[in-house]
Amino acid sequence: MNIVVCVKHVPDATADRKFESDNTVDREGVDGLLSELDEYAVEQALQLREKRSDEEISVTALTVGPAKAADAVRKALQMGADKGVHVSDDAIAGSDYLGTSLVLAKAIEKIGSEQKVDLVVFGMASTDASGGVVPAMVAERLGLPQVTLASVIESQGDQVRIKRDGDTATEVIGATLPIVLSVTDQSGEARYPSFKGIMAAKKKPVESYSLSDLGVEASEVGAEAAYSAVEEATARPPRTAGEIVTDEDGSGATALAEFLASKKFI
């Protein structure tokens, strides 16, 4: 079985985030890491390989992003993925979800041209843009069923069953491979890479593709082709001192309720 896990390199949320002059996220000048939510996807792919140890299963980590994004692939390899694919091209910068999903889908097709891809795994969203729509778009482009937001994943043969926890009910969904799957942060803690894994990752193969390798025109992606544009980005304002209600005559509760009502909390 051939599994592709899509992993995104995102700015470290604990570091200061910056924007480029065109209001896109600065991905080169800040510390980055493998999006935490994608670690769950890697974990599920690895668990599937471990649970079905009698089968030949290969896990490929795929990322689209600038040079530094290779670190996301490295982390997935350190955790245990078998090989990596890094798509990088200056023309991709500033792509929206549609552009990104096009590049991912083409890369998955290219990986599949060597060995059929049975399962594509995504995290539920990226920790920087938080769109959560790329899995669905890639599924559509590949013409595969999308089975999204799984909290529990079971598989046997070519059958996959997942649980999706909603606000009011839990759905159980069955599907037949090949599919596109996305998993939530409830699917099971991701493993830490061991030192052995870190050393082993050095020797694992990583392929680099450019847009022309994938047969994608530069004009189809990037900021120019994007359907949305960021007009303005403002840093979150610093926290201001709150309002203190002093209760001297028993009117405190009323004042508090009025305040909450004025902010539409109650």
């Binding site: 493993r191 830490y192 890479p193 061991s194 030192f195 870190i198």
Partner: protein
């Protein structure tokens, strides 16, 4: 310039993440309850921390010196020690005193029996050398082991033994007199005790790990006095060569010194991090205390201590990984241990001072580090013993 490899830095980050998520939030509670957290030890095992320097056949990572296996162990100890010195020493002792003697001197059968669980973190082992009357002078061991048919009968007492009485302790290795030999000294014939090392499995009748110590620090680390009253173990539990027990012990000691130095580096780093944050927050006389030279200079001292201790420690570790000549490594190990541990004690004194009255309160971790640091200058060879070794390394005939 001395630099760690990219892989080592990545591994450091991994252990730091683990320590921050799995250890730091609970360290104060474990300390208060004197609780040895078996589940966390198991998780450390899953991360492969106990097996960094063990071969793959026993579940280890199979790393060689060229991979920097020992350096990676030091990094793990440092990063655990940065949030909790108790977990740092638990790892250090489990590998250095528990796994290494068996790995270095054990028969294939002994290794196959004991190592898989120890390497996985499902079990820990202790090394019992120190006795009520034998510490720095470890050769003064009084514990005896007598061969009775196919069994060793062990009688005696050990004290201050780490990882020796936890619910997952699988064995302790003890040094014991197994006889004596006549040797010539200054023209006269003297009887010299023959010291050997024997594996005593937990649960052996006659072997008791007494009630855990009430210690100044390292509360979450498991330390017990041990008593042996006619404890019988099979003859094949002899570890390594008969009569070489003391020499074997000395041979594994140098690694442990560097590992303790790494634990001290973690302590100094914690002191710097905590003090730096506090110095920026705490206001006196209309500004943060970090603006006062009296405080700022102390932080400068912490940073200086940290750099020096780190360099000494990791260059010694690199020597070990590179297979440096024994005498040179011994000297480097003793120097690293001496400097890093004494710096750690100074660093905790500085950090508590920066915190003022809060530094004396258990609600801040600084107080815990203050209590934990002192033993670094004592365990695995006191500062005096390190100075003695360093002086001898200089060629001085120190007794």
């Amino acid at each position: 310039m001395f630099e760690l490899s990219r892989e080592h830095e990545e591994f450091r980050r991994t252990v730091a993440e683990f320590a921050t998520a799995e250890v730091a939030p609970y360290a104060a509670q474990w300390d208060r309850d004197h609780h040895f957290p078996v589940d966390t030890v198991r998780k450390m095992g899953e991360l492969g921390l106990f097996g960094l320097t063990a071969p793959e056949e026993y579940g280890g990572a199979g790393l060689t010196g060229a991979d920097g296996g020992f350096t990676s162990l030091c990094l793990a100890i440092e990063e655990l020690g940065r949030v909790d010195q108790s977990m740092g020493i638990t790892l250090e002792a489990a590998v250095g005193l528990g796994i290494n003697p068996i790995l270095t001197f054990g028969t294939d059968e002994q290794k196959a029996t004991w190592l898989p669980d120890l390497v996985a973190g499902r079990a820990v082992a202790g090394f019992g050398l120190t006795e009520p009357g034998a510490g720095s002078d470890a050769g003064a061991t009084r514990t005896r082991a007598v061969l009775d048919g196919e069994e060793w009968v062990v009688d005696g007492a050990k004290q201050f033994i780490t990882n020796s009485g936890s619910e997952i302790t699988s064995l302790v290795t003890v040094t014991a007199r197994t006889g004596s030999r006549s040797v010539q000294r200054d023209g006269a014939t003297v009887e010299k005790p023959e010291i050997s090392t024997i594996i005593v499995p937990a649960g052996t009748p006659g072997f008791t790990a007494e009630k855990a110590y009430d210690k100044l620090g390292w509360h979450a680390s498991d330390t017990h006095p041990l008593s042996f009253e006619g404890a019988r173990v099979p003859a094949e539990n002899l570890l390594g060569e008969r009569g070489r027990g003391y020499a074997q012990f000395l041979a594994t000691l140098d690694d442990g010194r560097v590992a303790i130095a790494a634990l001290a580096v973690g302590c100094i780093q914690a002191c710097l991090d905590m003090s730096l944050e506090y110095a920026g927050q705490r206001q006196t006389f209309g500004g943060p205390i970090g603006r006062k030279q009296g405080v700022a200079f102390q932080l400068a001292d912490l940073e200086t201590m940290l750099r020096a201790a780190r360099l000494l420690t990791y260059s010694a570790a690199a020597m070990k990984d590179a297979g440096a000549p024994v005498a040179a490594f011994k000297q480097a190990a003793a120097i690293a241990k001496l400097h890093a541990t004494e710096s750690a004690v100074s660093a905790t004194r500085i950090a508590t001072q920066v915190f003022g009255g809060y530094g004396f309160m258990e609600e801040y971790p600084v107080a815990r580090f203050y209590r934990d640091a002192k033993v670094l200058e004592i365990g695995e060879g006191t500062s005096e013993v390190q100075r003695m070794l360093i002086a001898r390394g200089l060629g001085l005939p120190v007794e």
